[in-house]
């Protein structure tokens, strides 16, 4: 099993920090893209479109990180060698929060939570480093994530919390009569 958060080491080399930052965004691109397909298959096109948009935004973030990395050779790590605070990169959507009838409000809440997790990850990386260059880069990344958090909050404000019966389905899949 992946490392528990209490054993999470926050001390990164420059290349390690960059590869973690890049993989956070690349996995988020894939995660949102997969969710867009899943929601589309269930006819939840509004949320599918939103996840598609998220995927595009994350792809843009990944491109920016690649640009920052420049010529620095990034290490090839096995999936379990990454040092995440949880079981997955911080911007991967937790599948436990997914529902086929979820609304844009729910999707944006999950996305907001992810951006906050990413911000916390980079803040921890900055605090865990004694190297000024690495610390400065981690602070930059944390600031980027803080901006994403603000965007998500603005976006979320447009979608008020749905009624309590948002998951009511007159023909639920579990009905066996």
């Amino acid at each position: 099993m992946s490392k528990a958060p209490d054993t999470f080491s926050r001390s990164f080399s420059m290349a390690e920090l960059l590869v973690h930052a890049l993989v956070i965004e690349l996995e988020a691109v894939q995660s949102y893209k997969d969710l867009a397909v899943q929601m589309g298959q269930c006819g939840n096109n509004e949320v599918a479109g939103l996840f598609e948009k998220m995927s595009e935004l994350e792809a843009g973030h990944a491109a920016k990180i690649r640009e920052k990395a420049g010529d620095i050779e990034l290490p090839e790590l096995a999936p379990w060698e990454y040092r995440w605070a949880g079981l997955e990169p911080p911007e991967n959507i937790d599948l436990a929060g997914i529902h086929y009838l979820m609304t844009p409000h729910h999707a944006l809440r999950l996305a907001l939570e992810n951006e906050m997790n990413a911000m916390a990850f980079f803040e921890a990386a900055a605090n865990g480093s004694t190297d000024q260059r690495i610390r400065s880069l981690a602070i930059d990344f944390a600031e980027d994530e803080r901006q994403h958090v603000a965007w998500m909050e603005d976006w979320l404000a447009k979608y008020p919390e749905p009624d309590a019966d948002w998951d009511y389905d007159p023909d639920p899949p579990a009905a066996i009569d």
Binding site: M1, A78, P79, W80, L87, L95, I98, Y100, A174
Partner: protein, 277 residues
Amino acid sequence: MSARVPRKLKASDYKSDTRPVWCPGCGDFHVLHSLTKAVAQIGLRPEEIAVISGIGCSSRIPAYLNSYGFHGVHGRALPLATGVKVARPDLTVICAGGDGDGFSIGGNHLLHACRRNIDITYIVMDNEVYGMTKGQPSPTTAPDWDSKIAPGGPGISPFYPLVIALASGANFVARAFSGDPNGTAQILVDAIRHPGFSFVQVLSPCVTFRPDQREWKKQVHPAPVTPTSDASQAARRVMTDDGFNIGVLYKGSRGPYWQTVGQEIRFDRNIEEEFLI
């Protein structure tokens, strides 16, 4: 003429263009990701892998990969995988399915696949329910799991797949959790590399019929022990744990089938010709 250097494949290179039709939130999505990460890590090329399955939600997995694949009949994934491995020992054969397919209708095949110890990795995505057929209790369902189809619960003690696998001779036994895709990938790498029959039970929540399994994420924990090569010790550990210990539990040293019989099975060409169409 310059030599062609094969590009290192990424996990996404192993996925086919067919989009999974699992329910949103299904744990099997993570198992698919873990498997592609594992084979990418080992460096296997898609044409070096055969993924064989039976019937059920999780058994759709061969369609979502661009390796060789065979979506067989209910409960018969292991005999099919055995046939593929015997005919093509050069392939890495991975068998996949669910708890209903593998432990109920295919239960007897599990015993003999473990006993034969052919070099196959068997991944069972265990959600303790028959999802595809709308939520009937499976062999791993708790006796008191109340549902519309089994009011009050099935009332029968569940099957302990890891103990059965150990008693039957599996050479590698592990439990993984789909919500830990990277940890699962690591276990799958280990399982695929280990010679002989490797059995990996992956706890993979069914969010539709077992929404209570969303809580598994909070219940799983790393197994507090290192893998043992003593099957009876591993069995005792499994029988007394809480069902949420995650990790490699047993690594045996029994030689795989080819070594046991002393030679590689060779096809009798005459028999093969008889079956030519």
